[in-house]
């Protein structure tokens, strides 16, 4: 098969996943923007195709395009027979001034160009990163070739370095796409990664356009797309880019849940948690930290069961871990020396943690001093935004990385050098929610005088938390240039 034909097959697989995912996501995306729905559709579709693939593997049948399409048709048909929940209030459209229109177009053009660059990077040669060859791609290729999940993938001592404990959604997604006719073409399969980037940017744009302003959404999409440390060729074939999508979806779902509890918001929490946990171990950590944040912020909520709903973020990772455990049995984590947590070795921990923290706050932070200073100053000069509750989640996640590096089986400094920036930058697209939710309404007031603030289209039924965000302005602004909240 020629490369263009292989690209076409894989693109068809991505599109089929999107359609199957749409038929699931339509039940919990009512009230969201179309862009958000598209992002949820891809994430849900990857999960649906992974489940369909597992069914094929379980029956010993080689998965083919026709099989996936038949399964997708069943899913769509069943979905269409069930009445979709009531749509939430549509987003209110304010008048856009020419300055806002120009800013919007400029930012979206930047995001579009950045996607094109990542697509060129990812598709120009077969995927080659070490993690692809040794972990994600290797597992996918073995599954594709053997039409099974062979036990040696989890128990062969010769594959001890292949991280047998890792989740399997990335390899299964690659196998599902390969089954659409291209075979195991590891150049064409890279198409999954620009697709995930596009979905991530759509999710960012859609969420902030709905909750803050279109310019804030476009700003987040542009800023995230320029994160070329994440969106570059070496990350094609790994779980970083899909996890960035999962983190954005989970963060957005948590913010919506805090704003207004509803069955749809709860379903999104659960779906995002499952997606994140199925991609990376850091994904499970992220959703558990989100759950802690949701639980903490919901503690004063008068609505019964609201705190318990935070469990929705915990259940999918737990169920996923249980299923993975049944599949692969107990696995040692070769990356970590967990004996350091035993009482006899506790005294070693502070020195190791200090070493790691010094490295992170010293060398690593110093190399990124300009962007870090820009972020810090930006947070100082802008008003709080709706995504600020995420700040402690990001801080806690990075703290957990520091702890993990402290108990590394290898030299902690070597581990930091190899992984810290990569796994931290995976969080950046979700972090742009925090940054761009603080962008003043529309375009800054000094640029023009129009741009109405927007009312939150609440996709749920009940009112939200008694928080400033739920009751007042949804966007940020600058300290010296705030605007009054007015309903149009």
């Amino acid at each position: 098969m020629t490369l263009p034909a292989a690209f076409t097959s894989v693109a068809a697989g991505v599109a089929a996943a999107g359609i199957a995912g749409w038929s699931i996501a339509r039940f919990f995306t009512a009230g969201l923007t179309r862009r958000e729905s598209a992002a949820w559709s891809l994430a849900s579709g990857l999960l649906v195709h992974a489940i369909v693939l597992l069914a094929f593997l379980g029956s010993g049948t080689r998965p083919r395009a026709i099989g996936f399409l038949a399964a997708d048709a069943v899913v769509v048909a069943v979905s269409l027979r069930i009445r979709r929940p009531r749509r939430g209030n549509p987003p209110l459209r304010g008048r856009r001034g020419p300055a806002e229109q120009f800013a919007l177009l400029l930012l979206l053009a930047v995001a579009g160009a950045a996607i094109a660059i990542f697509a060129i990077e990812a598709l120009s040669e077969p995927m080659w990163s070490t993690d692809f060859l040794a972990i994600w791609g290797l597992k996918g290729k073995i599954v594709f070739a053997t039409v099974a999940l062979p036990s040696r993938m989890f128990h062969d001592p010769a594959l001890a370095w292949a991280h047998r404990e890792y989740p399997l959604l990335v390899p299964l997604s690659l196998v599902a796409l390969a089954s659409f006719g291209a075979g195991w073409n590891d150049q064409a399969l890279a198409l999954l990664y620009p697709a995930c980037e596009l979905a991530t940017l759509l999710a960012l744009y859609g969420f902030l356009a709905r909750r803050v302003s279109p310019v804030a959404g476009a700003g987040a999409a542009a800023l995230a797309s320029l994160c070329f440390f994440l969106y570059r060729a070496v990350n094609a074939g790994t779980a970083e880019v899909p996890f960035a999508l999962g983190a954005v979806l989970a963060a957005g779902a948590a913010l919506d849940f805090l704003d207004a509890d509803s069955p749809a918001a709860r379903a999104r929490l659960a779906a995002a948690a499952l997606f994140c946990a199925s991609l990376k171990q850091e994904g499970s950590l992220f959703v558990l930290l989100l759950a802690a944040m949701v639980w903490w912020r919901a503690r004063r909520s008068p609505a019964r069961g609201r705190r318990a709903a935070a469990l929705l973020l915990c259940i999918p990772p737990a169920v996923h871990w249980g299923l993975l455990y049944l599949l692969r049995g107990s696995q040692t984590r070769r990356d970590f020396d967990l004996t350091l947590f035993e009482p006899r070795r506790w005294l070693e921990l502070p020195a190791l943690f200090l070493l790691v923290a010094t490295r992170m706050l010293g060398t690593e932070a110093r190399q990124a001093i300009v962007p870090l200073a820009a972020i810090a100053l930006y947070l100082l000069v802008t008003r709080r935004g709706i995504a600020d509750p995420l700040l402690p989640v990001f801080a806690a996640q990075i703290f957990c990385y520091a702890v993990a590096f402290s108990v590394s089986s290898f030299d902690p400094l070597y581990a930091i050098e190899g992984a810290f920036r990569r796994i931290t930058m995976t969080l950046f697209p979700a972090f742009t929610l925090v940054l761009c939710a603080r962008i003043p309404y529309g375009v800054p007031g000094w640029a023009h005088q129009s741009s109405d603030p927007r009312r939150t289209p609440v996709p749920g039924e009940r009112s939200g938390l008694p928080s400033r965000e739920a009751a007042g302005p949804q966007g940020g602004g600058t300290r010296g240039n705030t605007r009054k909240w007015t309903e149009s």
């Binding site: 990077e121 040669e125 640029a447």
Partner: protein, 145 residues
């Protein structure tokens, strides 16, 4: 003082400063990309669409040793999919082993420690002194057991 001037809001520098800081951040993020690399990859993509997968020497996968691609291809052609292959390859970079395991999958690929369990031993040229003699293949030997 004119009434318009009295009602004019105070000048704030917060907005422009915030936008400027985001621009600084965006520029820092974008600096990880290089124009020449994009141009190189664009040429590579166009060529691979026209004439198929690029040659190993042009790709990052075999950046350290393009000949190794030919060796692995030869081993793959001569061993069945269900075989177990021991590969004797340089220890550094570790990409030698990872590429062998990936390229030869679904075969079980092991390193020298499990050579006794393998149905074939593939020896890359640089490791010729360490392995058993076998049939010459491009850039190495292969011995069926």
């Amino acid at each position: 003082m004119a009434p318009e001037a009295r009602t004019r809001p105070p000048v704030s520098y917060g907005g422009p400063l915030a936008v400027l800081l985001l621009v600084v951040l965006a520029v820092c993020l974008a600096s990880f990309q290089s124009g020449s690399e994009i141009a190189r990859r664009w040429v590579l993509l166009k060529r691979s669409i026209v004439s198929g997968t690029p040659a190993p020497a042009e790709t990052f996968r075999f950046w350290f040793d393009p000949d190794y691609a030919v060796f692995l291809e030869a081993v793959a052609e001569r061993t069945p999919a269900g075989a177990s292959v021991a590969v004797l390859v340089p220890a550094r970079p570790d990409a030698y082993l990872y590429l062998a395991v990936y390229r030869l999958a679904p075969r079980r690929v092991v390193d020298a420690r499990w050579m006794g369990e393998a149905s074939a031993v593939a020896v890359y040229r640089t490791e010729a002194g360490r392995g058993p003699e076998g049939e010459p293949i491009p850039h190495g030997t292969l011995r069926a057991r």
